[in-house]
């Protein structure tokens, strides 16, 4: 093996401290090594020199002793390609950043440069040509979550001509945005801007929507994910149903509606809300009389069955079973959104004992003209109009004692919006807002807050509420501090609205572990880079958008959805993907199948393979492997090795110092 060592002067950056000539001389004494120096190795003439030496001296590997590999590794790899060598036959000895710039003693620095170069030679001797791996791309995208972020991402991807599948666990897409009344700061009606998007998604030929469904398993890797989707039994035939609504009009069972945040009723067979997509009801097996009677007595014919009798299309199918769908995808977008903070832990605010202490989402339904009160602000306990309302901000935000140290970002704005809408509904109502700080960073947000305070006369009190309790007359006494005037205030209110924060979806952890994307201590998904890769994740081919990454408002969710979609489109624009060749590989002849490697692999990149002799051994799923080398250190027999950083190479490097 013939190795060429090229020592760079880097002007005087290197040569001022290091005796370059001595380095060249010392290296040239090594067997099979050719060495030379040049003023600027990275310049065109420098590179051309390397190329001509590769060709003339028939070099097999190249060492460049110059600056840090972080700077010019790619440059010189390309030089090698132009010289006809495999780019991975290059090694760099970093004699600038880690030698000439940090030392002053010329002899010692020169000695170190020799050591560094010799170490690089030792490694290069064991270098093997490596080839990027090519994988095909399945050009369809799985979007998990059918809220505004998921819908937007699906629309963007499908309009570029690629197949998209939305999986939504509720019976309708729309997510939390469908529950809102108006949106800040423009006050356009939430449904009016969301519904067209829902319809657009459902009518697109390229978008398939599985509602009332969950992703059960995801395997595979970028370009080639396999997903198993469970479509739960709706008990209503989606093809036959016309959405006439007779079933739920006739259904005799009334239960609290989840969509109405338990403020209004729904039937046992129901569509969650009027504009639901698809407009096909679901039978709630827990509360349906038929299913209940069947559970009690499986032999019987089952009671009630009124919906079945009245359905003109014959669409009710009590014996429907869950359906399992297996599909292949090239990319996955996770848009699972958030959950509202459960204020049960706030004993001081009644821990849910007071009916008239409502959450912001409940108040949103009260404001909504299609909500349980047709838009009248009636307090839940006695349906009396609420004329004095206290809004408490930061309930489940910025409160470490309750395990939520972060700011939920949207509560200041939606509280202002709700206070404004209250004033529009009942102009002489009294609205008080207790806040810590007002965070109105967004286009026209600050102006909106100003308007709420000045034009609508909502009274803002800076301080926290220490206690809410019910007095004898049914009113709620809100005791809080006004830190600006330095006094304690007590307000007797008809209703209290808690601006509950946004917390992660309870399924985040399970989903994250399944797909292999990490989550932070607040259980929000972690993006690949907090600044430069906000929609990407550690797992190639999996993207995130919306509030599952962190609380965000609608415009931000939509923007991130667009970003995620464009990343997917970038992926789909390639016929084949090239994967970095620095990967782990298993020598299956000596592998014991103890799977310590699998136990440590952070990417689930180790799979089982059964050999002809029936022994089970490990196999690296190359497209999942990131090349960290964790498995190599865990393997007791050194059956796994990392291409480009093999055990042998590193041992040679260590021994080169003798």
């Amino acid at each position: 093996m013939k190795i060429g060592v090229f020592v760079c002067h880097c002007g005087t950056n290197i040569s001022a401290v290091i005796d370059v000539q001595k380095v060249v001389n010392d290296l040239a004494k090594m067997p099979g090594v050719f060495a030379m120096d040049y003023k600027f190795m990275c310049s065109d003439p420098g590179q051309n020199m390397i190329i001509s030496e590769i060709k003339q001296k028939k070099l097999d590997a190249v060492i460049v002793a110059a600056c840090s590999p972080c700077l010019h590794e790619l440059t010189f790899r390309n030089t090698l390609i132009r010289g006809g060598l495999n780019p991975y036959m290059l090694e760099i000895a970093n004699i600038r950043e880690q030698d000439s710039w940090v030392h002053t003693d010329r002899d010692k620095a020169t000695e170190k440069a020799v050591r560094l170069a010799k170490m690089a030679v030792a490694k290069a001797k064991r270098n093997q040509p490596l080839f990027p791996q090519e994988v095909s791309v399945e050009k369809s995208c799985l979007v998990i979550g059918g809220g505004i972020a998921g819908i937007q991402a699906a629309i963007d991807i499908s309009s570029a001509g690629y197949q998209t599948v939305i999986v939504e666990k509720e019976p309708s897409i729309g997510g939390k945005m469908a529950m809102f009344d108006k949106t800040f700061p423009t006050l356009d009606c939430s449904a009016c801007i969301l519904t067209p998007k829902m319809v657009q998604a459902s009518q697109s030929k390229k978008v398939k929507i599985y509602t009332y469904s969950e992703v059960e398993e995801i395997g595979g890797y970028v370009g080639n994910f396999n997903a198993r989707i469970r479509v739960k039994a709706r008990s209503v035939n989606m093809e036959k149903c016309t959405g006439c609504g007779i079933c739920w009009q006739k259904c005799p069972v009334k239960v609290n509606s989840e969509f109405e945040q338990n403020l209004g009723p729904r039937k046992a067979v129901y569509v969650p809300f009027a504009q639901a997509v698809p407009n096909v009801p679901v039978i709630d097996c827990v509360n349906c009389t038929y299913y209940r009677s069947k559970r009690q007595n499986p032999e019987s014919k089952g009671l009630c069955r009124i919906c079945e009798k009245f359905c003109p299309a014959g669409a009710i199918e009590f014996d429907q079973k869950d359906k399992i769908i297996e599909e292949k995808f090239g990319a996955v977008i996770v848009a699972t959104g958030f959950s509202a903070f459960d204020h049960k832990v706030y004993g001081e605010y009644g821990a849910g004992r007071y009916k008239d202490v409502v959450t912001a989402l409940q108040f949103e339904r009260l404001l909504n003209s299609s909500g349980p009160t047709q838009g009248k602000i009636l307090r839940p306990s006695d349906s009396k109009e609420a004329r004095t309302i206290v809004f408490v901000q930061c309930v489940g935000s910025r409160d470490e004692s309750k395990g939520v140290p972060y700011c939920s970002r949207v509560c200041c704005m939606y509280t202002a919006k709700q206070a404004l809408l209250l004033k529009e509904h009942i102009p002489d109502a009294n609205a008080y807002v207790f806040y810590i700080d007002i965070r109105a960073a967004g286009k026209n947000y600050e102006e909106f807050i100003e308007r709420v305070q000045d034009e609508y006369g909502v009274l803002y009190l800076r301080g926290r509420v220490s206690k809410i309790y019910r007095t004898g007359d049914g009113a709620l006494l809100v005791r809080g501090a006004d830190t600006l005037s330095g006094t304690q205030v007590e307000i007797s209110a008809d209703m209290v609205v808690l601006a509950t924060g946004l917390v992660s979806n309870p399924e985040t952890v399970k989903l994250g572990q399944m797909i292999g994307i990490p989550y932070d201590k607040n259980r929000f998904f972690t993006e690949s880079h907090p600044k430069l890769a906000p929609a990407e994740t550690q797992t190639a081919g999996v993207f995130i958008c919306g509030a599952c990454q962190f609380p965000k408002d609608i415009p931000d969710s939509v923007a991130q959805a667009g970003a995620a979609a464009s990343k997917v489109l970038g992926l789909f624009s390639q016929e084949h993907l090239m994967l970095e060749p620095v990967l782990a590989c298993v020598n299956q002849k000596i592998c014991n199948g103890c799977f310590h490697c699998r136990a440590v692999c952070p990417y689930n990149a180790i799979d089982e393979e059964i050999l002809k002799d029936k022994s089970v051994v490990a196999r690296v799923i190359e497209s999942k492997c990131h090349g960290c080398g964790n498995c190599i250190s865990a393997c007791p027999v050194s059956a796994v090795d990392l291409k480009g950083y093999t055990n042998e190479q590193i041992l040679e490097q260590l021994q080169s110092l003798r």
């Binding site: 030698d99 170190k112 560094l116 620095v582 190599i632 590193i650 041992l651 260590l654």
Partner: protein
């Protein structure tokens, strides 16, 4: 007197095995910032602290190297999610074993150094060098 001089003149051979995302870049930054530190350590670059098999420590010592340093990203910052967590446990256990077998603890070191900790890197190299100088040459296997 003679022996003391000998010890003072001792220039230890040290190896630093650095992860490419944090520690190696931290060491680069020390260069860019023109910090000055002892020239005894030769640096070897690997992808992640998880790649640093603890057996490298043993191999280094039996190859007459005077001291070895593993350095990776701070816990929680690993580019490969959790590599440094595994690395930490392996390192600690093997270090305990080597010390039990009579190796000097100063020869077997590990540090967390991020890409922005240029000063910390310089300090680490200096203090490791000083410690190993005090410990003296490793001639157990000569």
């Amino acid at each position: 007197m003679e022996e003391k001089k000998e010890k003072n003149g001792f220039e230890p051979r040290l190896v630093g095995i650095l992860c490419r995302w944090c520690s190696y870049q931290g060491a680069d930054l020390a260069g860019t910032s023109r910090l000055k530190y002892e020239p005894n350590m030769t640096v070897l670059r690997v992808p992640c602290s998880a790649r640093m098999s603890p057996l490298f420590l043993m191999k280094g010592l039996t190859s007459d190297i005077d001291g070895i340093l593993f350095s990776g990203c701070h816990p929680g910052d690993c580019h490969y999610i959790s590599g440094n967590m595994n690395a930490r446990r392996r390192f600690v256990i093997f270090k305990k074993l080597l010390e039990f077998a009579g190796m000097e603890p100063e020869r077997i070191q590990m540090s967390w150094c991020s890409a922005s900790e240029d000063k910390k890197w310089a300090d680490i190299v200096d203090s490791v060098t000083i410690e190993v100088k005090k410990t003296g040459p490793n001639n157990k296997f000569k």
